[in-house]
Amino acid sequence: MSLWFPRLATDRVLRTRPVDGPFVLTLKESNANRVHCLNDAAERQGLYRGMSFSDARAFCPDLISLPARPDQEMRFLASLRRWAMRWCPWVGFEGRDGLVLDITGSAHLFGGEAAMLGAMRQRLSRAGLSVRVGLGQTRGAAWARAHYGEGAALADLPVAALRLDPDTVTGLERMGLRRIGQLRDTPRGPLARRFGAGLLMRLDQALGDQPEQISPETEPPHYAVRLTLPEPIGLETDVMAATDRLLARLCEKLADRQAGARILCLSLRRVDAASQQVELRLARPMRDPARILPLFQRGVSEVDAGFGIDQLRLEAVQVEPLPAQQLAHSGPRDPRRLDDLITRIGTRIGLENVQRFLPADSHIPERSFLIAPAAYSQPEGGWVNLSPRPVRIFAPEPITAAGSSPPERFRWRRMELTLGRATGPERIAPEWWLDDPNWRSGLRDYWRVETRQGRRLWMFYTPQNPGWFVQGEFA
C-alpha cells in the first residue's frame, strides 16, 4: 500500500493556522522564490508548483504565503510514519511526501482492506491531511495507483506512473507508448537498447517480476513516558507520587536496553496549558527509581502548580550505556551515596562546579594538576611529589628586593618580614612549547622562605628579568 500526501507541506501549516483563500509556501531555489506547495484554492486560481512566486502574486493578488520549512516537513512525515505503525509494522518512507506500508497479513485485523482504507482516510481527513491511497500487489503498482488513479487497472495507467525520469517518459510518448499495457506488450530487447535497463527494472518491479523491498526505518529507542490525570493535582506529595509511577516505567525501559539516564527532564503541564520543566542532572548514569526519586524533591518543590497539574511527562534527555555490574564485597565504601550527594549539590550550584583534582604531568606549578567535574571523572592516584609545594597558591605578587639570594627583610601584604631560613633554589624553566604569558619573564628560581614571624612563603626570583615574587604559602 502506498500513501501519498500531495499537499503535505501546506497541510502541515494549515493544521495550526487555517487560512481562507489561496495559500502557498515558497522556497528559495537558485536565487528565486518559487511556489513549493499550494492549497486547493490556489490551484483553482491557476497556480502550479514550481512557478515563480512573483508570477503567482500577479495571478492572484490576495495570495497568502509563508516560507517553506523542508526540515519540519521531514519531521512531520516521520511522525506520520510513527502513526502509520498502528496499521502494520512495516512502514517505510516513499520520497519526501509519501509512505509505503506492507499490509500483507495485517489487513484482516481491521476488517479487511476496504475497512482499513476507510478508517485510514477518515483519520487522516480528520487530522486535516489530504491523502491519495494506492493499493497494489507490488510497491511499484501501489505507487502508480496512488499517484495516477486510485482504482484503475495497472495496464491503463500512463507510463509516468512507473517512477521514470521525465526524459524517458517523453521518449516513450514520442514512440507512441503511452500506457503501461502497451509498454508491457512491446519487445523488451529494443526497449533496453533504447532506454537502458532502468526502464525494464521499473516495469518488472511494478508487474511483480522483480522484487522490491520496503525498508522500515529502525525505531530509535525512545526514553519518555507520560501520565495524564483525570483530575488536576497540586500537592507536592501527589506530584512526587506521580513522578514515582513515571520513574518506574522509565527505568524499566532503561533496564531493557542496559542504559542509564544522565539528564532527566520532567515536564508538568498545568490546566491552563502552561508548562513547567524540572531538569535533573545526575552525577552518574543510573536507572534505580528509588534513588532518583528523592533527587527530584528539590526541583518539584519549586514548581508553581497554579490551578493544578493534569499531565506529567518524564524524559531521559541524555542516556548513557550502563551494563549490569556485579556487586563487590570489597573495595571502597558505597560510592552511590556520594554520587547522590554530588547530584543534589549539582542541582543547586551546577554539576560542573563540583570538582575534583587530577594529576597532570608538568613542572609548572599552575599546571601540575587538573580540575575536572567530579561527575564526569574518576579519582586517580599517581600523585608523586618530588619537592615540597605550598598548600595555597595565588598569582605572583611582586616584592621589592634585589639580588639573586632571598632578601633579609621585605614587605609582603603590608607585613614586615625577616628571613629566618631559606631552602633552595629550585629552578623551573618555562615550557617553551606552550606560550604562557605568565612565564614570559623566563626561568624561575623557587625558594622556600621561612620567616622569623612564622609565615612560610614560596618565593621565586627571575634571573633573566631580575625581580622577586611571592606565589604561594606553606602552612
Binding site: 549539590i345 583534582f357 598548600v391
Partner: protein, 192 residues
C-alpha cells in the same frame, strides 16, 4: 613519649567547628588526615587564592571533592546539604562574611543529623556563637622543623582553652604536640 594531649582534638565528630588564622587550611587538611575521612571543600568562586593539591602534606587529593559556589548563601546551602547527608566525613567551608546565629545553628543541626564533622574557615574575628570550638592556627618559625604550628583554642563549648605547639609527623601522618606545651599564650617564638 608522654605528651600533654590537646583538649578537644581530634575534633568532636558530628559538630561544626571553626578555624581562623594563616594556617587554617593546613589545620583542615591535618584534621581530615586525623579523622581518616573523605572531605568536601566548599569555597567561593572568586577567591584569588587556590588550593594546590601538590601541597597536601601526604593527604591523597583523590579524597577531596571541591564545590565552587557563587556566594555565601550557596556555600551554606551546599555545606548544609553535605553535612545532613553524611556521605563525606568532613565538610570544610570557607566563609567570607559573618554567619548569622540562625545559619550557624542550622549547620550545627545538619551536622548532628548526618554525623559529618563541619569545619568553617573564617576570617579573624568573625566567629559564630554556634560553633563547638574555634581555633587560631599560625605557623611558627623554628630552626629545625618546617612544620611547626601554634594552635590556640580560643573557644570551647565543653572544656578549657589552651595553646599548643604542634608539628606534623610525616611518617605516622599524625599531629604531634611539641613539649613543652605552649605555656605563654601570645608568645610568637615558643621554643621548639
Amino acid at each position: 613519649m608522654p605528651h600533654p594531649a590537646i583538649t578537644a582534638y581530634p575534633l568532636i565528630p558530628a559538630r561544626v567547628h571553626e578555624a581562623c588564622g594563616p594556617a587554617a587550611a593546613s589545620f583542615a587538611l591535618r584534621t581530615a588526615h586525623q579523622l581518616g575521612v573523605d572531605l568536601l571543600w566548599v569555597r567561593e568562586d572568586w577567591q584569588p587564592e587556590k588550593l594546590n593539591p601538590r601541597g597536601f602534606e601526604g593527604l591523597d587529593p583523590a579524597r577531596l571533592i571541591m564545590a565552587r559556589t557563587k556566594g555565601q548563601v550557596d556555600t551554606l546551602a551546599v555545606a548544609e546539604e553535605a553535612l545532613r547527608d553524611g556521605a563525606l566525613g568532613l565538610v570544610v567551608l570557607e566563609i567570607t562574611s559573618p554567619l548569622s546565629l540562625t545559619a550557624g545553628r542550622r549547620l550545627q543541626l545538619a551536622a548532628r543529623a548526618g554525623g559529618s564533622t563541619g569545619l568553617c574557615l573564617i576570617p579573624e574575628d568573625m566567629g559564630s556563637p554556634a560553633a563547638e570550638t574555634r581555633w587560631h592556627c599560625a605557623p611558627v618559625f623554628d630552626m629545625g622543623d618546617s612544620t611547626l604550628q601554634r594552635w590556640q583554642l580560643i573557644k570551647n563549648k565543653s572544656g578549657t582553652l589552651g595553646v599548643w605547639n604542634v608539628r606534623w609527623d610525616p611518617e605516622t601522618r599524625r599531629v604531634a604536640v611539641v613539649p613543652p606545651a605552649g605555656h605563654r599564650p601570645g608568645s610568637a617564638d615558643a621554643p621548639g
